[in-house]
């Protein structure tokens, strides 16, 4: 998916020079602003359709928020400032990369804790199994049976 996207980008870039000839040419600032809007809207979640980024979503709120981000970017606000602006209003949930803090510890480290617990469980189980598989002396009856089988083979 990423590869296709990259190829598509390269493809587009090949044509962009000619495309600019007849479209309104963005100012140099405009390019940087658009890049920032694009970068940020790929990092932020659309709250209306929660599994889409602002960049992917066509909801009206997402469009408004992209406009808002564009306005802030034009004013020269940094990525951090714009993200903070949205987090102030919608909470950490708008960020696709949640910050590390006390309420998100479980989110960040839960999977590793589960992996560790599973690993310890597996280790203990294997060790126990190894112990139970230790050689036990055969009873007289069992020894006779084994001998009988071995003799039959040869």
């Amino acid at each position: 998916m990423k590869l296709i996207f990259r190829l598509a980008t390269v493809f587009c870039l090949m044509f962009i020079a000619s495309a600019w000839a007849d479209e309104a040419r963005p100012l140099h600032d405009g390019v940087a602003v658009e890049a920032q809007v694009q970068r940020l809207s790929e990092e932020l979640r659309c709250l209306v359709c929660q599994n889409q980024t602002l960049a992917d979503s066509h909801s009206e709120l997402a469009e408004d928020l992209r406009q808002e981000i564009r306005a802030m970017a034009t004013k020269g606000m940094s990525d951090q400032q714009i993200t903070d602006y949205l987090v102030e209003r919608y909470g950490d949930f708008v960020r696709y990369r949640p910050p590390l803090k006390s309420t998100t510890l479980l989110l960040w480290f839960g999977p590793f804790a589960l992996l560790l617990a599973g690993g310890i469980g597996l280790f203990l189980m294997l060790r126990r199994r190894e112990k139970s598989a230790e050689d036990l002396p055969l009873s007289a009856d069992e020894a006779r049976k084994v001998n009988a089988l071995l003799n039959k083979e040869s």
Partner: protein
């Protein structure tokens, strides 16, 4: 015997988590604005575009701020609850007409009744963004000092009103 119980216990724990998860609504994102001063706004009124309504007008009283729109289906579900509440006179309701057209909004109020003391018109949704609105209807309980005490995402049902909003309003009113 003890070892046979272990998978059962793990299973029950997982079931417990899933059961809780089933009852959570992923659309209810906790608002970071609860406990913070309500964002300032100054907007034209729906009934008279020349008059401006601001959040400062409501300082000193507990009020509900209901975000609605005539295009919003779920607003229809809560409308009768709001109308009944406004008739009881327990708490004033102010509206925010979110990304709507004036004509549609006025017609909506003419048809369903007007539970609002006044409605502010947020035509481009900027105030909505300040309030972190992402799913209309949303309702805020704002205290005498202008601090947001509660946010209801989705329609105000009779149960929500009885169990959450009214007890909170009464508590805030005697403060």
């Amino acid at each position: 015997m003890k070892r046979a119980l272990l998978p059962l216990i793990i299973f029950l724990i997982v079931v417990g988590f899933l059961l809780v998860g089933l009852n959570l609504d992923p659309r209810e994102v906790p608002s970071p604005l609860v406990g913070k001063p309500a964002p300032a706004f100054s907007l034209p009124r729906l009934d008279n575009a020349d008059k401006i309504i601001s959040n400062k007008d409501m300082l000193g009283k507990v009020w509900l701020f209901n975000v609605w729109a005539s295009w919003c289906g779920a607003c229809r579900d809560e409308h009768h609850v709001l109308v009944a509440l406004s008739k009881s006179g327990v708490v004033p309701i102010y509206g925010l007409d979110y990304k709507d057209t004036r004509l549609d909004a006025l017609q909506w109020l003419a048809e369903g009744g007007n539970p609002y003391v006044a409605t502010a018109v947020d035509e481009n949704g900027r105030v909505g963004i300040d309030y972190g609105v992402y799913g209309v209807p949303e309702t805020y309980v704002i205290d005498k000092a202008g601090v947001i005490a509660y946010k209801q995402i989705g329609p105000v049902t009779e149960a929500v009103l009885r169990d959450k909003i009214l007890p909170l309003v009464k508590r805030l009113q005697i403060q």
